[in-house]
């Protein structure tokens, strides 16, 4: 079994049996691109932590890199997470509301 087949199998496992969409060459390559883009842009964004502390930046980049490598096909999960169902959207909206309020309230008072 070569690497490509392994990737296809892994994506199929995560998408589950319920998704009847065929896994084509095109969809696999776009999934891979998305995966690489996601991980690399998050890693580059983490480098911005150097403003706070350099050691923290190095630790964070290494930890996230390791975590991403272990949990490798992130993108199918991400796609499942950002689906169109009302409940998922509402959950993230509530989460965002809580985060925004907390950040503004505590973040600015304790800077």
């Amino acid at each position: 079994m070569n690497l490509y087949d392994l990737i296809v199998k892994k994506i199929k496992d995560i998408q589950g049996a319920g998704d009847d969409a065929a896994i084509t060459n095109m969809s696999t390559s776009s999934m891979l691109t998305a995966e690489i883009t996601l991980i690399s842009s998050i890693l580059v964004a983490l480098v911005m932590l150097r403003m706070v502390s350099k050691i923290l930046m190095i630790v964070a980049v290494l930890v996230v890199l390791l975590a991403a490598l272990v949990a490798m096909p992130l993108m199918p999960r991400f796609k499942n997470e950002q689906n169109d169902s009302m409940a998922a959207m509402m959950f993230y909206v509530m989460l965002a509301l809580a985060i925004v309020i907390t950040l503004f309230y505590w973040g600015n008072l304790n800077v």
Binding site: D84, S85, M86, A87, M90, M94
Partner: protein, 120 residues
């Protein structure tokens, strides 16, 4: 001890908002969800009104014979009240559109459950 009317109204407003958000997030029936959204709107309106209230003040109508300075110190602040008038009407019209969509969806799908209609 008696709590201040203004503070108590603000708490009422906040509890209405929280009840509304709870209903919109957790209840499954679409009409119940919309009722919750109506409460969020009501709560925000009450919050605005409570902000314009002046304890021991008078209604902001300038009658002949009132001294201007006395009036300006004792009248409630009318700006939020004017805003609430608009906001009530906007809320009611939004509600009407949502209920219209719900009726159409019920005719199409025969259900009022958010899980069924607004799922993936």
């Amino acid at each position: 001890m008696v709590i201040d009317v203004q503070i108590a109204s603000l708490f009422t407003a906040v509890s209405l908002i929280i009840i509304g958000i709870f209903a919109a997030a957790f209840l499954d029936n679409l009409i119940k969800k919309v009722i919750g959204l109506a409460f969020i709107g009501d709560g925000v309106n009450l919050f605005l009104i409570a902000m314009g209230y002046k304890p021991g003040g008078i209604v902001y109508i300038y009658l002949p014979g009132m001294a201007a300075e006395w009036f300006s110190q004792n009248a409630a602040y009318p700006l939020p009240f004017a805003m609430v008038l608009t906001s009530i009407v906007i809320g009611a019209s939004t509600m009407a559109v949502m209920l219209g969509i719900i009726i159409v969806l019920y005719k199409k799908r025969g259900s009022l459950s958010a899980k069924e209609i607004l799922g993936e």
